[in-house]
């Protein structure tokens, strides 16, 4: 069953004085099945971020519909949107977005506290996640006391703790060194193997090659997609590279 359905999404930005119209997304349609691990690739300016903002209900599309777990995002009232986001979506950002005023533990609790969960339950939920992500020892530390990789793991824990329908990751490896990148990607794969649906936006071939399916966006449209099939990460890596080369040289692929 599809957990996310994107149909004919269009987004047009109008400049302040109504003069120029810029079409960031022309006609994007795709769907994500429950338990999938999907990467969306595209160059800067291809509309990736706009798409992610729409999927996260941070922005409204000019046309088309986004259906998350059977609910049309545009039909949710403005006052309920934050709570909806909190309960159904988990976010992982490029720059972690941890609050420096909180310990890692409190950072992870933040969405749960906002939805009024009791402390005992929060603790019970955190323990297995922290163990899996290998940050059990770091929970009492403040963000500035830990490495970038550890920060990103805490951010992943924060995204997972609400058991969201979908985790949205925006360039999650962008600020990490290669070792931390490897760790994070294998963590994503493990989490995905346990049934967590993940949608990741990236322009790193390496990050994308850990996904099960890769969508390519160009000029506001889904241009192409690759399934992993039986490929290894390396095999997928090669396919993605080839596709990117084609995209860059302007060739056409079916």
């Amino acid at each position: 069953m599809s957990i996310l359905e994107v149909k004919g999404v269009r987004k047009v930005y109008t400049t302040r004085f109504g003069g120029n119209k810029v079409e960031a997304l022309r006609d994007v349609s795709f769907s994500v099945e429950a338990g999938e691990y999907v990467a969306i690739m595209g160059e800067s300016g291809s509309g990736k971020t706009t798409l992610l903002n729409i999927l996260a209900a941070l922005d409204k599309p000019s046309g088309g519909t986004v259906i998350l777990d059977g609910r049309d995002l545009s039909k949710i009232r403005e006052s309920a949107i934050s709570a909806f986001r909190r309960d159904n979506l988990g976010f992982v950002f490029q720059e972690f977005n941890l609050l420096d005023t909180f310990t890692l533990e409190d950072n992870i609790y933040l969405p749960l506290v906002l939805s009024g969960t009791g402390h005992r339950e929060m603790k019970e939920r955190l323990a297995p996640i922290a163990a899996k992500l290998g940050i059990s020892e770091l929970l009492k530390k403040y963000p500035y006391e830990v490495s970038c990789g550890q920060k990103q793991r805490a951010a992943v824990a924060r995204a997972m703790i609400t058991s969201p329908k979908l985790i949205l990751a925006d360039e999650p490896t962008g600020a990490l060194d290669s070792k931390s990148t490897d760790e994070l990607l294998s963590m994503f794969s493990e989490v995905n193997a346990l049934g967590q649906t993940i949608l990741m936006v990236t322009h790193s071939v390496k990050a994308a090659s850990s996904a099960n399916r890769v969508l390519f966006i160009k000029d506001g449209e889904v241009f192409h997609q690759i399934y992993r099939g039986d490929d290894t990460n390396d095999g997928l890596y090669q396919k993605i590279s080839d596709t990117l080369t084609l995209l860059a040289t302007g060739g056409k692929t079916a």
Binding site: L52, D100, T101
Partner: protein, 687 residues
């Protein structure tokens, strides 16, 4: 490079940082204005004819020194906010290839611009408001009003000097900051020092202890002289205690809240408690400063208002009748009935000559001595034998007035008789429940209490406790004491007679009568006054009207300085709040952005901001109110030194001051909270 390059760049960057510069310039303008006004009034508005003109001038001068020192400290403080936000800009200039020397030149021109604008505007406002301020001053002093506008060039010059120096120091400090940091450090300037706080138990507890100590001093001291000595100690302790407690105590408090999981992990506490814990350490100093300023304003305004509105009371205490004459005699012989009769007749004659009559008379003879009394009624008259290690020794030093029964009966209109070793006592400002009163080296008496309100002794001092001891035979009663001498070899007993009375004359006639009597008393011969020659008495005469002007002068000036300084300090407190909120707003922008992404609603944000601001705002006010409450007894004692004994009036002025300040503070809170919310919610909801 063109000549005007740096000045232009400086003006440009001031315009670009309007939000930061405007309040700073306004502060400078305010400070310059206040300084000029108080200088001007001290130099020009105190008429030479006024009684105590010199002391009023020097009080005003002291006020101007206070403003200058405060302006210096405060402008440094606000300038540091400015610099923190601007370091990034300078870092960028530095990286783009501008040398430190060039940045210093920009800073120089900036300072010149700010200084010129604010000193000019400050002087302009100062000169235009100086007349208004002068009118207020003269009105307070009950003086005569003139309507010509003056400019005091001396005050202008002094203002230029003082603020020129302050701005020079500011410039040097800014240059120092730029000079000693690298471009990268400058770029990061604003986000440095983001370390999580650790609760410092030692300092927190120390702060609490110091504060409690200060409170203890303020509450337990009974006597005004001791209060004066300890007041400044208590003030310093309160300041130190407040800073310690606010800086580390508040972090400790937040940590405790965080430990309480049930409380902490609630949507409306979670964010506010943690960010408070985080910034308390840095901003504890700011909060403490606001608190201290608020306390100073409240103490100043409540006590000076009380003095001003209570001056009538103080005058009446000090001078119970229109005309008050005191006689002092060399020995007990002077207190004989014959002499007393003759003296009264003499004075009555002088009054009659002026076409008036003495009415409502207070007149009695007394032998006065002061001594230290223990609770069991033992009195030690020799100060050398008193153990002065006791802090509150002064609280038990009594003024004893031995009064002959005949005079007493006449004054109160009673008909009491006493045995030889019996005495009637009236106790003022102290309690005494014993049956026996015994003077070391003198006699002992079986005492009966008498309602002290019925006997108006008219003694001006109302600082120390006082006991009127009514005895049947004065000479017999003071036997033994009469022979004692103090360390200078002079007799301890003072033989006095009072003759205070009202007349129906108007003010001018009354002062004239007073002068006439004074003239007679001291006319002939020069080396021995009239009374001395005639009765062996020294006489001093005081007219209430004449002295009233003196009181108005002193209390009025204090009241005026109180108002001016209160305005300055309030202005400062408001600005500290504004800058604090502004800089916190910029810091929090990113934080609230993140929280929105993670699913915090705008309403949650508003709620958490409210809870945070409420605490941050009203903590200093709460502390100030607490300080004020504990300071109340000690300030009341100090007011006694000014001859003011009106607890209810002081309670009223304190209450009203607190109320007015709280209302004003709340308005500032509303405004600032609005500005803060605008900054914080200005974040875009995007990846």
């Amino acid at each position: 490079m063109k000549v005007g390059f740096y000045p232009k760049l400086a003006v440009d960057s001031i315009m670009k940082n309007k939000k930061m510069f405007t309040p700073f310039i306004l502060t400078c303008v305010g400070m310059v204005m206040m300084f000029y006004i108080i200088m001007y009034i001290g130099l020009c508005s105190v008429p030479d004819s006024m009684m105590g003109a010199e002391s009023v001038r020097s009080m005003l001068q002291l006020g101007s020194v206070v403003i200058a020192v405060f302006a210096c400290i405060f402008l440094f403080y606000t300038n540091s906010f400015l610099m923190r936000r601007r370091k990034k800009e300078f870092g960028l200039y530095n990286i783009l290839g501008m040398g430190k020397w060039s940045i210093a030149r920009i800073l120089f021109w900036e300072t010149i611009t700010v200084a010129a604008v604010s000193i000019l505007a400050g002087l302009l406002f100062g000169i235009s408001f100086s007349k208004l301020a002068e009118l207020g001053f003269i009105n307070i002093m009950n003086g005569e009003i003139t309507y010509d506008l003056n400019i005091s060039w001396v005050a202008v010059a002094r203002t230029l000097e003082v603020f020129g120096v302050i701005f020079l120091l500011l410039l040097l400090n800014s240059i120092r900051q730029v000079r000693f940091s690298s471009a990268v450090q400058l770029l990061r300037g604003e986000s440095t020092g983001e370390k999580p706080p650790r609760a410092n138990w030692l300092f927190g507890i120390l702060g609490a202890v110091v504060l409690v100590g200060a409170y203890y001093i303020a509450v337990t001291i009974k006597d005004p002289i001791t209060a004066l000595l300890w007041f400044f100690v208590a003030v310093l302790m309160v300041i130190a205690g407040t800073y310690l407690l606010m800086i580390s105590g508040s972090v400790m408090f937040c940590r405790l809240l965080q430990k309480n999981k049930g409380y902490y992990y609630k949507p409306n506490h979670f964010v506010s408690v943690s960010s408070m814990a985080f910034r308390m350490k840095r901003n504890g100093a700011g909060l403490a400063s606001i608190c201290i300023l608020a306390t100073m304003v409240l103490v100043m305004i409540s006590s000076t208002t009380c003095l001003y509105f209570g001056e009538e009371n103080a005058v009446n205490q000090r001078y119970p009748r229109d005309i008050n004459i005191d006689f002092r005699f060399g020995g007990i012989d002077g207190l004989s009935d014959d002499i007393a009769e003759a003296v009264r007749r003499d004075i009555d004659g002088m009054v009659a000559d002026a076409g008036a009559s003495a009415g409502n008379v207070i007149s009695y003879r007394t032998a006065a001595v002061s001594g230290y009394m223990t609770d069991d009624g033992n009195v030690e008259l020799d100060v050398r034998k008193i153990d002065d290690r006791d802090v509150d020794v002064m609280a038990n030093v009594f003024q004893f007035l031995f009064v002959p029964l005949s005079d007493f009966n006449e004054t109160v209109g009673d008909d009491i008789s006493l045995g030889d070793d019996e005495a009637l006592i009236c106790v003022y400002r102290h309690d005494f429940d014993g049956d026996v009163l015994s003077f070391n080296g003198g006699r002992s008496f079986h005492v009966k209490k008498y309602d002290e309100k019925k006997f108006e002794h008219g003694e001006g001092y109302i600082i120390s406790p006082c006991m009127v001891v009514v005895v049947p035979d004065l000479e017999y009663a003071v036997e033994g004491i009469a022979d004692m001498t103090d360390s200078l070899g002079e007799g301890m007993l003072q033989y006095r007679m009072k003759y205070d009375f009202d007349t129906e004359l108007d003010v001018d006639e009354e002062i004239a009568l007073c002068d006439t009597i004074n003239e007679i008393l001291y006319s002939t011969p020069l080396d021995a006054s009239y009374m001395e020659a005639k009765y062996g008495a020294y006489a001093s005469i005081a007219s209430r009207e004449e002295n009233r002007q003196d009181f108005y002068g002193m209390f009025g000036t204090l009241f005026y300085i109180g108002i001016i300084l209160s305005i300055v300090f309030t202005l400062a407190a408001v600005l500290i709040i504004y800058y604090k909120q502004l800089s916190e707003g910029y810091e929090d922008q990113a934080r609230f952005g993140i929280m929105q992404k993670v699913g915090m609603t705008k309403r949650d944000i508003k709620k958490s901001i409210n809870s945070q601001l409420l605490t941050v705002f009203f903590l200093p006010l709460l502390f100030a109110a607490m300080h004020l409450a504990f300071a109340f007894p000690i300030i009341h004692k100090l007011l006694l030194l000014f001859g003011l004994d009106k607890v209810t009036l002081f309670a009223a002025t304190t209450g009203v001051s607190l109320l007015v300040f709280a209302v004003f503070y709340t308005i500032v809170y509303k405004l600032t909270a609005g500005a803060y919310y605008k900054i914080v919610s200005g974040t875009k909801e995007e990846f």
